[in-house]
């Protein structure tokens, strides 16, 4: 869903402007109207700022020209509708717009950044499992056997509201993305929620500007918001992540995702003229006006922090339950959710290809004193809009009323190509659909990327041999306790991750159900009702803003690589995976910021092409910057979350990451390089190195070989190497399974041949996976991995410790599992006591 904007006009005053202008089409305007076409540019800009439209100069001029041509003044409702529709949030101007990019060596002009990177890759791949991409409220892909089912997948951000009011912001964030999935196709039943938060460290002790919340409060608030909404909706929250970086202290990021299941016949909407416009769900109030336009602004101390909506999950649950029955009785032909822009966006989208006539007085209200344009723009939660054939309406109404939720006719879809909105006969808006959706002028933005100057730090991993004995153990223990690695159990346990009885691979794994799983696997049996069908799906994530600080291009590739490995380690069929992208960036009006974003988009393109995986949906949240305590602009690090979803053809073949027994072989797939740039080691030790650089084509070959070994049931456990590299992955597998491990660093494939013990253990080279294999299957696994960089590096042990032999053959690390696990588990509980 949407970026929410705290309410209406600043200082609480209603806009008062200029004289009433007679309507062009006979109806009197419902509001006092605006003196728009004749206003001097300076005053027009002031009005724009005062009423919070966030329109730029070129757009203001385009609107002026349009109404001059029409020979009348626009009403307030009309300009508000256009401002919402043209907002960064709804139109994604930056992503869809032209960009002139230069990286110092060469320059490139994109007519549309999005079309020429992410969409282009998806089009070229034309993957047969994609049923609907980039046009509906969610991406839709095939699911299960026999083509009966499809999955609708969406990930949204809700950043600005969570900075203002973490609990309400996270609630309405998860509530909104659930509605996106309910509004995908003819509605999908949500079967999984995910959440990922990027926050400042909970022990942040620096200054904060007035009004900013401490990160601990934000963390507690967003977790509670997702918990209370997701749990009450009866949707398992079983995937996601946490990332801590102090530059998120004024702009926390909250990503909420939902996967829903729908029958294939329900993938397409088809709105017909004459269909009734029906609003279902809660009543409309003066909640969060201007949510969409808010996403085009920087937050500061002046931001009104009082008006983020509080969600009401019970209302949304009523809508969900009634909607699914109505869908299966085929009582409606189209559906979409009310997100940013409220009715104006929902009806505007559904009526895009036909037209609509809306009578706002028919909308049920929370309070009677709403202005007509406020009814039209309100972002009150838990509402959806349906296109209903008149003969089906009585049955639909009975259904929603029996569930105890609202259902009312607001008007009808027409074939006029116009959006006509009235209130008690008076005109609120009468707009041409063509102008509304395609009339927005495009503004070229400038993007610059300069390779960061090499930091003045020594190279990582200089140490090796007996000199580092003891020291490696201490680094490993501190890594496990690091906020970006440590156990997330405190968060995960608060979410009902097993409701719907389909979570067959859980977020917490291992002997004591507390190890860090790579991806969850969902068997949506309660939704399909088909006990015999063992089809499931897995969802994994990739996120690492530290790499982005070095180069967002490689960050994008690393995110895609990690998300895929997460799926692979859970036993998913990644040859039919799909990606979703979520970009969170600072102002695209700053060329250096936009340059980073272009790099990341190029990375997404190359990842999709290289791994052969299409993007099916995505979202961007820009302007994530605020003025800090000294009045300086603090931008977040450019952040990309890649979510990957893939089928698990038989859930009984899925995998967990915990060691399963002693005496098993450990195979490391992939090459370990001197890649410590942006790594955990570099952050902890203050050193630097090359950022990890995946080779997607080579990685895809490795992944295919690993998938083959897994499908032959040769693999007992698998875990990807990410933050903290081999040392962390090995420890996690060991303490989760309660078996030790003994490995020899000289057995590991490295490039160049000579690396230090420290580098081998903590490098974050991508595309690597650690496999546990029964010794009787060693040969079979080696056959499956033929032609792929992989080596047997050691074995699991009954002795509960990690033992690492260095390149010179001496033992360089020997630490008890109980110590490693205690370090890994204590961090969050201690900070959140």
């Amino acid at each position: 869903m949407t970026e929410r904007r705290p309410a209406a006009a600043p200082n609480g005053k209603r806009a008062t402007t200029a004289p009433v202008v007679p309507a062009a089409r006979g109806q009197a305007p419902a509001d006092e109207g605006l003196r728009f076409t004749t206003l001097p540019p300076k005053e027009l800009k002031e009005l724009n700022a005062k009423l919070g439209w966030s329109l730029n100069d070129v757009e203001l001029e385009a609107i002026r020209a349009h109404f001059k041509k029409a020979g009348r003044e626009p009403s307030r409702g009309e300009v508000e509708t256009i401002a919402q529709t043209w907002s960064e949030h709804c139109k994604h101007k930056t992503f869809n717009g032209p960009v002139r990019y230069s990286d110092g060596k060469k320059s490139r002009v994109f007519r549309s950044l999005f079309a020429e990177t992410i969409v282009k890759a998806t089009k070229e791949l034309s993957s047969p499992w994609c049923l609907s991409v980039f046009k509906d409220n969610a991406g839709i892909v095939q699911f299960g056997k026999g083509g009966r089912w499809a999955l609708a997948v969406k990930v949204e951000t809700h950043n600005h509201p969570c900075a203002v009011e973490p609990y309400g912001g996270a609630e309405t964030g998860i509530g909104g993305v659930i509605r996106d999935v309910l509004g995908a196709g003819l509605g999908a039943k949500p079967v999984l929620n995910t959440d990922t938060f990027c926050l400042a460290r909970p022990d942040y002790s620096g200054e904060l500007p007035e009004g900013a919340l401490h990160p601990v409060r934000t963390l507690r608030g967003v977790v509670a918001g997702v918990r209370d909404y997701g749990n009450r909706m009866g949707i398992p929250t079983a995937g996601g992540g946490l990332w801590f970086d102090d530059d998120y202290r004024l702009n926390p990021l909250v990503f909420c995702g939902t996967v829903g299941i729908l029958p294939t016949w329900a993938v397409r909407k088809e709105v017909k003229p004459g269909d009734l416009i029906v609003a279902v769900g809660g009543p409309t109030g003066r909640d969060g006006l201007h949510g969409a336009t808010f996403s085009s602004t920087t937050m500061d101390g002046e931001t009104d922090r009082a008006a983020v909506q509080i969600g009401h999950p019970l209302n949304e649950k009523r809508v969900l339950d009634a909607l699914m029955v109505a869908r299966d009785r085929r009582l409606y032909r189209g559906v979409t959710d009310c997100g940013a822009g409220g009715f104006s966006s929902a009806i505007g989208e559904l009526a895009r290809d036909c037209g609509a006539r809306v009578e706002l007085e028919k909308a049920p209200l929370k309070c009677s004193d709403l202005e007509p344009w406020e009814i039209w723009l309100s972002e009150a939660q838990e509402r959806m809009v349906l296109a209903v054939p008149p003969k089906s309406y009585p049955e639909l109404e009975r259904l929603f009323h029996a569930e105890g939720t609202g259902c009312s006719v607001l008007g009808e879809f027409t074939k006029t190509g116009r959006l006509v909105v009235t209130h008690k006969g008076a005109r609120v808006a009468d707009l041409d659909m063509g102008f509304l959706h395609d009339g927005m002028p495009r503004v070229e933005r400038r993007a610059v990327w300069t390779e960061g100057s090499k930091p003045k730090r020594g190279p990582c991993g200089a140490r090796g041999g007996p000199a580092v004995r003891g020291r490696l153990g201490s680094i490993l223990t501190r890594m496990l306790a690091h906020l970006n690695v440590c156990s997330r159990e405190w968060v995960i346990r608060q979410y009902d991750h097993e409701v719907q009885a389909g979570t067959v691979i859980k977020p917490l794994q291992g002997q004591r159900h507390d190890g860090p799983g790579d991806a969850c696997v969902i068997w949506p049996v309660a939704a399909t009702g088909d006990w015999e069908d063992r089809s499931g799906f897995a969802v994994g994530h990739g996120l690492n803003p530290s790499y982005g600080r070095v180069d967002p291009y490689w960050m994008a590739l690393c995110c895609a690589d990690e998300a895929l490995r997460n799926l692979l380690c859970a036993g998913a069929d990644i040859s039919k995976a799909s990606f979703l992208d979520n970009f969170c960036w600072a102002s695209p009006e700053v060329p250096e910021q936009l340059g980073g974003l272009v790099r990341a988009a190029l990375g997404c393109h190359d990842a999709a092409k290289g791994y052969g995986i299409p993007f099916i949906s995505g979202k961007d949240s820009l302007y994530n910057q605020s003025r800090d305590e000294k009045g300086r602009e603090l931008a977040i690090p450019g952040t990309l979350l890649i979510t990957a979803v893939a089928p698990v053809p038989d859930i009984t073949h899925s995998l967990t990451m915990d060691f399963k027994g002693p005496g098993n072989s450990l195979f490391l797939v992939g090459v370990t390089k001197d890649e410590t740039g942006g790594s955990l080691l570099s952050q902890m030790e203050g050193c630097s190195g090359e950022v990890p650089k995946p080779d997607p084509k080579a990685a895809a070959r490795s992944f295919k070989a690993v998938a083959e070994a897994i499908s032959k049931k040769l693999v007992l456990s698998a875990h990807d190497l990410s933050d903290g590299g081999l040392g962390v992955a090995l420890s996690e597998m060991a303490f989760s399974g309660e078996f030790g491990a003994s490995i020899e660093l000289d057995q590991i494939l490295t490039s160049p041949a000579m690396l230090s013990d420290e580098t081998i253990l903590f490098s974050e080279s991508p595309s690597r996976i650690l496999l546990e294999v029964s010794p009787k299957d060693d040969l079979a696994v080696m056959r499956a991995l033929k032609g792929v960089p992989a080596r047997r590096i050691g074995s699991t042990t009954a002795n509960p410790l990690i033992k690492v032999s260095g390149l010179d053959g001496s033992v360089v690390l020997e630490t008890l599992l109980v110590e490693l696990k205690a370090a890994w588990q204590k961090t969050l509980p201690e900070l959140l006591k």
């Binding site: 009450r232 019970l314 979410y495 009885a501 309660a526 399963k660």
Partner: protein, 267 residues
């Protein structure tokens, strides 16, 4: 004259799975009954309010988990009042020995409607309050079944089982200490939270701080069971968090509870 004979459709007993706004474990609970030979039907409490359903046409009643009415006021409280008002026959249903189960929110509703632990009394003698941890928590727990109990739902199950819990308001409290003695005497304590070696220990083994580690209660006659853990979430072995481990061989024990009730109706 009401019959105590269970109602069968073919050989399949009809199961009423009660829904209210906010119920969210209805689909998987219905599926569990279906898999073991029941004929589940999702029925909304509003259908009772509109007098559109007849309770006595069903053999089994299940009140599934969720957040009925958003758990506003207190968990299960509004649903309990609705049951008392619009499903008055439920008392008779229980008295006639027909199987009734309340899971999680359904357990809370049964207790608050005065149907458990003493279904005859119609007086509420127990309640639920916030977990001692102060948070909603989802985790798997070890449970010990009371092998002396008359409970038809747990007959023949092993003494030690595992099931998941997921709740924020699951701490069972009793109106007075003498009720605990009475519960023991009546063998009403059907399930208790224990450690993996069967001991009555505190958090996290007892996930909410319930008095005497009580996880589930039955009426003395044994046909009405309420429990906080979710048997419908352990119907195949792949539901267990450890099913991927070589040493793990258990089947989905939760399914056996549903099978017991269906078999009881069929016999």
């Amino acid at each position: 004259m009401m019959s105590s004979k269970p109602v069968l459709r073919g050989k399949r007993p009809k199961v009423l799975v009660l829904r209210a706004p906010g119920t969210n474990c209805d689909m998987e609970t219905a599926l569990a009954f279906k898999v073991v030979g029941g004929e589940p039907e999702l029925v909304s409490i509003s259908d009772f309010r509109a007098a559109k359903v007849r309770l006595m046409e069903f053999s089994i009643v299940a009140i599934p988990g969720g957040f009925s009415y958003g758990d506003d006021v207190a968990a299960g409280k509004i649903l309990a009042n609705q049951v008392k008002l619009y499903m008055k026959e439920i008392r008779n249903f229980v008295r006639l020995g027909r199987p009734v189960i309340g899971i999680c929110n359904g357990f809370q509703a049964l207790v608050k409607a005065g149907l458990l632990p003493f279904s005859g009394a119609a007086e509420q003698t127990a309640s639920f309050t916030a977990n001692d941890s102060g948070r909603f928590e989802a985790r798997w727990v070890h449970l010990r079944l009371n092998t002396q109990s008359m409970c038809l739902w747990t007959q023949g199950l092993p003494e030690m089982i595992e099931l998941p819990v997921a709740h924020g308001e699951g701490k069972l409290v009793l109106k007075s200490p003498r009720h605990l003695e009475e519960l023991k005497k009546n063998k009403s304590i059907a399930l208790q939270y224990v450690s993996d070696d069967g001991k009555l220990l505190g958090y996290p083994h007892n996930p909410n701080g319930s008095v005497f580690n009580i996880a589930g209660l039955t009426n003395p006659e044994g046909n009405c069971l309420g429990l906080m853990p979710h048997p419908e979430r352990f119907t195949v072995r792949h539901h267990h968090p450890n099913w991927t481990r070589q040493t793990f061989m258990k089947e989905g024990i939760g399914l056996e509870m549903f099978r017991n009730a269906v078999k009881y109706c069929q016999s």
